[in-house]
Every structure is written in structure tokens, then in C-alpha cells.
Point group: C2
């Protein structure tokens, strides 16, 4: 049954790399309004915990988004990152996310030699893949490590997904990410998708990443299932902070991964210092029935976020509203 397994529960795979995307996915909770103290402490915590990559936010275009309407991590200006990390004299690599259609990548993504950023993650919907490939090649030619994150694959049919993966395997991306945007997948689906992505990637020596959401309380389970089959980049956030039901808890990953470089203790201290306060300030994320329903129905979580924001608990009426949108 476990013939495809890669690694065991007591050994470790040095190829696995851990990404903290709290500022990026968590920024969707608080509109990127993190204090500098929070960001600096998280940076130091990630270094101490042996995290491999820290994502600072999005490289959003200021022609599209109003800089006064968002915190600075929506834009990740070079000087904003440097104000936290200096020249980043550490083993922690720095990542930013670039959305297809929302990033002025030619202008805003500098040559890597002029930047403290190490990795650009291109986030794309299936219909945007040709533009994603242009962005991948731009970032690659500038000298970055590059990933491509195909969003909302739970809405994509098999033929289109195969065609998209085939295009991306010929691109300059180092990692192709399996993304469960709506928290809709069960572990058995994650296993077959991981196989599909790994087979596509094997042709060109690329790695596979996994980014899960916790709508059905399956983010950690789905993540470790993908890892056990051979996925090797893995996303987590502090206490799962992320849009809606949130993400895979990085604490869970630090407790699970056996590489001696990882250390759960600094991360637990960070959680105690900041997470209760963030929640007390009204930042809401994590599993709740409305997210279970959007997960089951494979829907975008925005309606569930609004339902909770409105203080509603009439789950039955909400369920009917969701069914009307099917």
C-alpha cells in the first residue's frame, strides 16, 4: 500500500524545504497591516527555527492597487524588506509572490543582484499560464529561484490541468506547486494529484510544492500526504494564519519534520507572543462551519468570510445560498 512512499516517519529527507508564508497569506486577513516589530520577530524566529524560506508578501502593482489602502507587504518594495533584514546575512531565503495580471513584473522585480529577494513565486490561474510563463522566464533570467503556483486546481478539469502542467514543465520554473485554494481536496485526491505533478515534473527535473487550506481541517494531513509521496517544498503559516480557514500550521510541520535543522521552540515562543494578541484585535481566521461548507462545495471562501464578518450563524440559509451559486 505504501510502495510509493518517499522517506519514513523517523528519517528525514534533506530535499524538503519549508516556506513560511504568514505575511503573504496571513496578510489577506489583516490587509497586510503587520507591525515592523512583528515582521522583525518573525524573521528572527524563522532563522532560529531553521525555516528555509520566508515569504514577505506580494509584489503587487501600484498602478492597480492603492498604496494607501494596504499595508506595505502587499507591495514588498526592496527598501521595505531591507529595513527588516538588511542584507539578510542568514541562511533564510526570502520570497515574494507575483500574481499574474496584478504585477508589473518587468518594472517591479529587480535584477537579483540588486535585490535581497531570493525567490519569486508566480501565482496563476489555469487560463493565465502563457502569461505566467512570460513572468517565470523574466524572473529566471533576472537570476531568481522561481516557483509557479497553479491556483484553484479543484476547479480545473483533467485535460486542462495536464496541458497546463506540460507547458510549465518546459518553463524555467524550479518548483511547481499543487495548491488547494478552496480546501476542497481529500487526502486521496491529493495523493493522485501529487503523483500527477511529480510525473510531469520528473521529465524536467523540477520539484513539487504543496500549499493547503484548512477548510475541512485537512491542511496538515494533505500536506504530509503530498510530502510522503515526494513533494519537497511545503508551505505553512504561524498558527495557520491565512485567508478564511487558513493554512497548514507551521508549528505542526516543525513538529513533524525530522531534519535536525528544524526547531519548534522559537516558533512556539513567537505564537505565545503574538497570536493571542492578533486574535484579540479582531483578526479572524481558522476552521469554522462556513469554511467547511465552501470546502465541501469547492467554492471560493469569500462568501464565508463575509458571513462570519456579518456575525451570522444561520448556517442552513448560507448553505442554500451557496447551492444557488453552484
Amino acid at each position: 500500500m505504501e510502495e510509493n512512499k518517499n522517506g519514513t516517519l523517523v528519517s528525514f529527507r534533506p530535499d524538503i524545504k519549508l516556506m513560511d508564508c504568514t505575511l503573504r497569506d496571513g496578510g489577506l486577513v489583516n490587509n497586510f497591516a503587520f507591525t515592523d516589530e512583528f515582521v522583525t520577530d518573525l524573521y528572527r524566529t524563522n532563522i532560529r527555527s531553521g525555516v528555509d524560506y520566508m515569504e514577505f508578501g506580494y509584489k503587487a502593482s501600484k498602478d492597480i492597487f492603492d498604496v494607501n489602502a494596504f499595508g506595505k507587504w502587499k507591495f514588498c518594495d526592496e527598501e521595505a524588506i531591507r529595513s527588516i533584514v538588511g542584507n539578510n546575512e542568514s541562511d533564510l531565503k526570502i520570497s515574494v509572490m507575483a500574481d499574474v495580471g496584478r504585477t508589473d513584473y518587468k518594472r517591479d522585480i529587480l535584477e537579483r543582484k540588486d535585490s535581497v529577494i531570493d525567490m519569486v513565486r508566480v501565482a496563476t490561474y489555469i487560463h493565465q499560464i502563457p502569461t505566467a510563463i512570460a513572468m517565470i522566464e523574466d524572473a529566471k533570467s533576472k537570476g531568481y529561484e522561481v516557483t509557479v503556483n497553479i491556483m484553484a486546481v479543484s476547479k480545473v478539469n483533467d485535460k486542462n490541468l495536464n496541458d497546463g502542467l506540460n507547458l510549465l514543465t518546459e518553463s524555467g520554473a524550479d518548483v511547481i506547486y499543487l495548491v488547494d485554494s478552496f480546501g476542497a481536496f481529500y487526502p486521496e485526491q491529493i495523493r493522485s494529484l501529487t503523483d500527477l505533478y511529480l510525473n510531469a515534473a520528473a521529465k524536467s527535473g523540477k520539484k513539487i510544492g504543496i500549499h493547503a487550506h484548512n477548510n475541512q481541517q485537512l491542511a496538515f494531513a494533505n500536506t504530509i500526504e503530498a510530502l510522503s509521496l515526494g513533494a519537497s517544498m511545503v508551505d505553512g503559516t504561524v498558527s495557520g494564519m491565512g485567508r478564511g480557514a487558513g493554512n497548514c500550521f507551521i508549528e505542526s510541520l516543525l513538529g513533524f519534520l525530522r531534519n535536525p535543522k528544524y526547531n519548534l521552540i522559537p516558533m512556539m515562543k513567537f505564537v505565545a507572543a503574538y497570536i493571542p494578541q492578533l486574535k484579540a484585535e479582531g483578526n479572524v481566521w481558522g476552521y469554522d462551519i462556513p469554511y467547511l461548507l465552501t470546502g465541501i462545495l469547492n467554492s471560493h471562501p469569500s462568501s464565508a468570510i463575509q458571513f462570519i464578518k456579518d456575525g451570522r450563524t444561520d448556517y442552513t440559509a448560507f448553505y442554500q445560498e451557496l447551492l444557488d451559486l453552484e
Copy 2:
């Protein structure tokens, strides 16, 4: 990879039976202090939601436990259950749990013809199996459906577990339960244990049940993995209410299972009516870092429950305390 799979994500298996054990495992949170209104509404909700079994609590011995120190569902007197269900003119079956060493089973478990109870679940540690078998045979001879729940198997070595399973397959139990008492198992371990239990049970036509805890946010994942391999009795509680990190959410199971008899809507209404109030009254359960740590370390959750009760957040010190107990 999925060759052992039993059923698909769009079909349903009529052999799967759903057990609500909110009063029993949730009773460990509030000392069984449920109002009659709560219990009556839960009973009606389980009927409307198509739940197959409802566990009312323990059949604890009044010679061992003080009746003034616990709510009545610690003891589940016949008249207490009948005061809620009458003669139970419904398809919902009624269960009680009988702990080895804590139940005066010869006296307190009546002949089934004199009881409204349908099922007795015998909970045993591995070293108590001979006594468990005496209790199983007693309940079976009185006319009940009987399960045996081997607790804390994450602490049991393979040889003892095999020997215990072999004894139980020769007993009168209808169902043998795989129980992850400490929320310590990962899905791949649940898969191999489910295989082990199924192979043992196949010899004697018994069924396998799964009872999971949510220390690592894996209760639902582990439950559906066991189901997908062929386990057919499945435990959940309302919003996961149960000791420490709690159980698999029955809402998740009602959303997952495809049998048309199941209906999530009445259960969501029950959640909205009672769960926020229970939590506001100071009843604490559900995933938290201390439970993650006891799960990772395969420890009883009692120390984590005390840590949280004491209002502590010094996770690092707690982690060291747990390591000292290893």
C-alpha cells in the same frame, strides 16, 4: 496506489455506521453536566441527521464514583436515558460505554429486553483484555450489540497488539475499534493499523471502527483514511467536543459521507444553538499547541489540559516537562 480502497468519493457504502459520542467524550470536558434540554435536542438532532448510534455516556460503577461529583451521564441509569428517549421509537440506536475495571457490569448492565440501550462499548487497555472479554461475553449474552475499544494503542508494541487482536477476534464482539487516544498517529500509521485490524477481524466476520483525536488536527483525516480502507463504524462528536483536543467533528463526517440518509442541516442548527454558549460558559476543548505537543510525544493529554486550565502559555517549559516524563 489506491488498490486497497473501499468505496469512492461519490458513491456510498451502506455498511458504514455513524456514532455520535458527544455526551460520552464531551462529558469528559464538562464532567457530564449537560442540561436535559441539550441532551433532548441532541437526541432529536441525531435522529433528523440520520446518525446511526448515539452514545449517552458511561456505565460507571457508583461504588467507585461519587454520584454527587458527576453529571448523570457518567452512570447512564436506565431511567435517566428513558427520561429523554422514552422507549426510543426511532431508528437511532443507543449506546453506552463500559470501562474495564470501572463498571459493575453484572449488576448495572441489564438484560437487553429490560433496557432501551442497544449497544455496549467495552473500553479496555491492552493488559485488561481478559477482563474485557468477560464483559463482552456478559453483554453479548444479555442480548446487546457489543464493541471493544482498545485504548492507547499508540503505546502498545506490535506483538502485544497482535496477541490482543487474536484474543478479541475469538470473542463475541461485533466491532473492534481502532482508537487513537493520544492523537499521536499520522495517516500512514492509521492505514497500516486499519489493515492490521481488518485482517484480524476478517477471520471472524467482525467490523472495524475508528475513534480519532484531534491533537495534530488529523482526527478527520485519520478517520476518512480508515473508512476508505474498509473500517465501517465511525465516531464523531458535535464540533469535536471531547477531552483535550477533542474528536473528529461529526459535522465533517456528515458533510463527507454520501449515504442519502445523512443530513448535515439539523446538526448545523444544533451547533449554532448550543456550541457558542457551551464555549462561553468556559468549556474548553479543541486543537491547541499543548495538545500538539502531547500528540507528537504520544502522551496522555491530562498535563496539557492542566496547562491550559492554569492559563499558562510557556510552551517551551511545558515541552521540557513533557520530555522529562518520556
